[in-house]
C-alpha cells in the first residue's frame, strides 16, 4: 500500500484488533505515547488545512492525534475498576491468553467492533451530516455508526446490535451521544469484558491544542453495573486530517476488507491460537 504514514497505524491496529497484547486499557495509551515521541518534530502535518469554523461542524476526516499531551491533559487514562464478576472474567481472558489461547473479541472475527471499542480503534473516522442524523464512517472494518439526532430515545423493540442504538443531542457546542441496546458479543476493550447493561456516553467537542490546531476531543464514559464498579471515563483527541483526502486517494478513508484476509480468524470455539 502507498500510505507510508498510515501503514504503521495499520500494523499497530492489527495488534490492537487481534487483542494479542495484554492490559488492553493501557495499550491504546502506550501506542499514543510512542507515536508522540516519534513524530513530535512535525507538528504542522496535523492540520494541513483548518477544519470547518462552525464549532458544531465536524465534517471531515479525523484521526487519533499523535499529540494527545498538547491539550495539556497529561494524566494517564484511568484504569477500569472492576466488580468481582468483572475481575473474574478479566482473569479468565488473561489466563487463557497466557496459555496461548486468545479468546477472540468481535473485531478479530470481522464483526463490528462494538462500543466504546470502536472509538478507540486507531483508524480514521469521517463525519457527515444529514437531516436528523450524524453519520460516522470508520475506516476500520468499514464500521458505520448512525447517531439519531431526531430521537430522544431508541424506538421500542429495537433489537440488540454490535454498535447499539445511538441517540444524539447538542449541549452548547458539544455533541452528546448515548448508546445502548448493545449485544453481548463485544468488549469494552480487548481484555475488558462487559455485561448486558452497558451504556456508553460520548461527548464530542472541538478544542484548540497548544500548537493552535483544532482537535476533536471526545470524553467517553462507559457504564456497566455488572462488570465495572464505577463509570470509566477516558478522553481521546482526534486531529483534522484533510491531507489524507489527497494522499490516500479515497477521500481519506481507505477501503478495509477484513473478511478477505483474516489471518487471526478464530476457530468455532472463538479461540485464536497464538501463531
Amino acid at each position: 500500500m502507498r500510505r507510508s504514514k498510515s501503514l504503521k497505524y495499520a500494523c499497530i491496529a492489527a495488534l490492537a484488533v487481534a487483542g494479542l497484547a495484554s492490559a488492553a486499557a493501557a495499550q491504546d495509551l502506550s501506542i499514543i505515547e510512542r507515536l508522540t515521541a516519534e513524530d513530535k518534530a512535525d507538528p504542522k502535518s496535523f492540520e494541513p488545512t483548518p477544519p470547518p469554523s462552525d464549532p458544531r461542524d465536524f465534517t471531515g476526516v479525523w484521526h487519533v492525534s499523535r499529540f494527545p499531551k498538547t491539550q495539556g491533559d497529561t494524566a494517564r487514562q484511568p484504569e477500569p475498576v472492576f466488580t468481582a464478576m468483572g475481575a473474574a472474567e478479566v482473569k479468565r481472558l488473561v489466563d487463557s491468553e497466557a496459555g496461548g489461547r486468545v479468546v477472540a473479541d468481535a473485531g478479530t472475527q470481522c464483526l463490528p467492533h462494538g462500543m466504546p471499542r470502536l472509538v478507540f480503534s486507531p483508524y480514521p473516522i469521517r463525519f457527515t451530516y444529514m437531516p436528523g442524523k450524524i453519520v460516522m464512517l470508520h475506516e476500520v472494518n468499514h464500521n458505520v455508526r448512525i447517531v439519531h439526532m431526531d430521537r430522544s430515545a431508541p424506538p421500542a423493540g429495537e433489537p440488540l446490535s454490535f454498535l447499539g442504538y445511538s441517540v444524539g443531542r447538542w449541549e452548547g457546542n458539544t455533541l452528546v451521544v448515548v448508546t445502548t441496546i448493545l449485544n453481548d458479543q463485544t468488549r469494552i476493550e480487548a481484555n475488558v469484558p462487559r455485561g448486558p447493561k452497558l451504556k456508553v456516553t460520548e461527548r464530542w467537542t472541538k478544542a484548540k491544542n497548544i500548537f493552535g490546531a483544532t482537535d476533536l476531543a471526545v470524553t467517553v464514559t462507559t457504564e456497566d453495573p455488572d462488570f465495572l464498579a464505577q463509570p470509566w471515563t477516558r478522553r481521546l483527541y482526534f486531529a483534522y486530517r484533510s491531507d489524507l483526502e489527497k494522499n490516500l486517494r479515497s477521500d481519506g478513508v481507505v477501503e478495509y476488507s477484513c473478511e478477505e484476509n483474516n489471518r487471526n480468524a478464530p476457530g468455532a470455539d472463538h479461540i485464536v491460537t497464538a501463531k
Binding site: M1, P131, F162, S250
Partner: protein, 239 residues
C-alpha cells in the same frame, strides 16, 4: 423592483419559497459550509430498488457484449453458482464490487454534502465516499486495486455522475456471475425524476471482458423514515 444586493434577493427568494409552502429544507441539520448549492438535486435520504435485478442486461434488454473468453468464464461462474451458492464471492463476505453493490437487495442511505456524496449500503455496512472535488488519481493504474475502486464524482447539470476505476477482478458485476477484469471502469449517473424517484444508468467499459462499452439501468425509490439496520455478513454466514 430593484434588488439592493444579491443577499437581499436570496433572502426574499427563500422567504417566497417558504411562504408558498415549499417542500421542507432537504439540508436541515447540515452545517452551513456543507450545504449543496441552491438548486442542487436532493438525493439525500434512504432509497431502495423496487424490483430485484439479478442479471444485468443492456438498456434494450440484450445480453452484455461478452468477449468469447469472458463468456466462457461467465458460464463457468453461473454453473458453479448453481451447483453451490457458496461459490459466490459475496458468500465469503467479500465486498460486492461496483456496480453489484447497487443491486444488492438492501436499502442505501445517501448523505449528501456540497463536495461529497456518501453512500451507506445496509448490506454488510458497506460505504462509498465519493468526492465531488478530488479528481481521479492520475496514477490509478499503479495503485492497489480495490473491491470498490477509486471514484470521482461531479454534477453535470442536474445529473450526478460518478466515474470509478482501479478495481480488483475478484468481484462479480451482478448476482448471476458476470465477470470483469482489472481494466473495468464504471460510470454511474443518478437523476432525480420525481421527488421520490431516482433514475440511474451504469455504463460498463472493460476491453478485456466486453467487445464495447454497454449501459444498464436501475430505479431507486425513496423509503421515508427508514432507519438502516445492522447487517453483519461474518455473523450471518458463520465464516
Amino acid at each position: 423592483m430593484t434588488m439592493k444586493s444579491p443577499l437581499i434577493a436570496l433572502a426574499l427568494a427563500v422567504f417566497a419559497a417558504a411562504s408558498a409552502g415549499a417542500a421542507p429544507d432537504p439540508w436541515a441539520g447540515l452545517p452551513a459550509a456543507q450545504r449543496p448549492a441552491l438548486g442542487t438535486p436532493a438525493l439525500v435520504g434512504v432509497w431502495a430498488m423496487p424490483k430485484r435485478i439479478t442479471a444485468l442486461r443492456t438498456l434494450d434488454g440484450k445480453a452484455p457484449p461478452l468477449l468469447p473468453a469472458a463468456l466462457a468464464l461467465y458460464r463457468k461462474n453461473a454453473a458453479a453458482l448453481k451447483a453451490d451458492p457458496n461459490s459466490d464471492p459475496v458468500a465469503k463476505c467479500w465486498m460486492h464490487g461496483v456496480p453489484r453493490l447497487l443491486y444488492a437487495p438492501y436499502p442505501v442511505l445517501i448523505a449528501q454534502e456540497k463536495d461529497r456524496i456518501n453512500f451507506v449500503h445496509e448490506v454488510n455496512h458497506t460505504f462509498r465516499i465519493i468526492s465531488l472535488k478530488q479528481p481521479m488519481p492520475k496514477d490509478v493504474a499503479d495503485l492497489d486495486p480495490l473491491w470498490l475502486g477509486y471514484s470521482a464524482g461531479h454534477w453535470a447539470g442536474k445529473t450526478l455522475v460518478i466515474d470509478s476505476t482501479g478495481f480488483n477482478d475478484r468481484s462479480w458485476l451482478d448476482y448471476s456471475g458476470l465477470p470483469h477484469s482489472e481494466k473495468l471502469s464504471v460510470r454511474e449517473t443518478y437523476r432525480l425524476v420525481g421527488p421520490n424517484t431516482i433514475e440511474g444508468r451504469v455504463t460498463i467499459t472493460d476491453p478485456l471482458t466486453f467487445s464495447k462499452p454497454w449501459t444498464t439501468g436501475f430505479t431507486l425509490v425513496r423509503k421515508p423514515g427508514y432507519e438502516l439496520k445492522e447487517s453483519v455478513c461474518s455473523r450471518d454466514r458463520k465464516m
